[in-house]
Subunit: 158 residues, 2 copies
DNA sequence: ATTATTATTGAGAATCTATTGCAATAATAA
DNA sequence: TTATTATTGCAATAGATTCTCAATAATAAT
């Protein structure tokens, strides 16, 4: 099943209605593997002349999350950022505090943590969000120039 | 060093000025180990008659993050939530999708992931944010009653 | 101590994100 | 084909955060 078929199935099972607007949104989101936010998605569609109101985009987002097509990845610059899940292998995010760049990387060990957490605490873990932050190779080279490091890196707690 | 001393040091080194308002904010935050958000902090201080304007709280938050005293933990209900770091042992968060409850739990394995990431990709990792989500023991008991589960739990990708 | 400099404060205005009300439209079922 | 009602777009609204600006107060200099 591709993303459109998944959504049609979800819509039918939930007693909702499918619309061309929603399919246009889904198609746009799945064009790339990049993160997106509501505003860029809106502008992107506007430029392509398949303009869709922001209200409709905002109303569609929860449906896409609910149907498992997309997920929230991080909140930045005052708004949420999303990425599509279907067809996009699971990964974590590394955020460079120097240049702001987001780098995806694979990591299977989190599954172990999920499992351990399930067993130790009796939770049913259905997903996770892991973000590492620090400085990327490029910013480390510039060393201290553009690097904004907290003056207090380590604090002695008595 | 306690939180006030850490902040005074940070302020001095950054060429800023310390104020009684900022120290009141810090003291309030460090009174408990709970998560907090700007609005509850504001109301809390207001009730204690040490009222401080929201603008000042908003302006102080980035300084507290920068000085390593607090960190963002999650964005929920339309605003950011924070917790203090100094004196609060590192931990991860489990969010129950059934009742919305946040549960803290200890997990050391993430450090291994940090290390592996540093070595494989040449990053300098300074921190992380791990959030697991799913259903807590209580919600699992109620099984399917209040549980809001996506209709599509697993999707066959061809 | 006193004075000068300028960061900080508080109040409210402004901005930005996200949600909602409503009339018109259009997707589904009958 | 018709009836029902979810969805759309627009505008109004709510809520969070930032900004403006005059008054205040923390530090440095004298």
């Amino acid at each position: 099943m591709n993303e459109i078929e998944v959504f049609r199935k979800y819509v039918k099972e939930s007693g909702l209605r499918n619309t061309p607007e929603r399919e246009v949104i889904i198609e746009e989101i799945f064009l790339t593997h990049d993160h997106f936010d509501v505003d860029t998605l809106y502008l992107c569609l506007k430029n392509k002349k398949c303009s869709i109101s922001k209200a409709s985009i905002y109303r569609t987002i929860p449906l896409l999350i609910e149907s498992g097509l997309i997920k929230e990845v991080f909140f930045e610059d005052g708004h949420m950022h999303y990425e599509h899940v279907l067809g996009h292998e699971h990964h974590c995010h590394f955020r460079c505090l120097g240049c702001g760049k987001i780098i995806e990387f694979k990591e299977d060990e989190v599954m172990d943590i999920e499992k351990k957490c399930s067993e130790s605490y009796g939770f049913e873990v259905t997903g996770h969000k892991l973000e590492l932050f620090g400085y990327c190779r490029e910013c480390l080279k510039k060393e201290g120039k553009d690097r904004k490091v907290s003056t207090i890196d380590r604090v002695d707690v008595d």
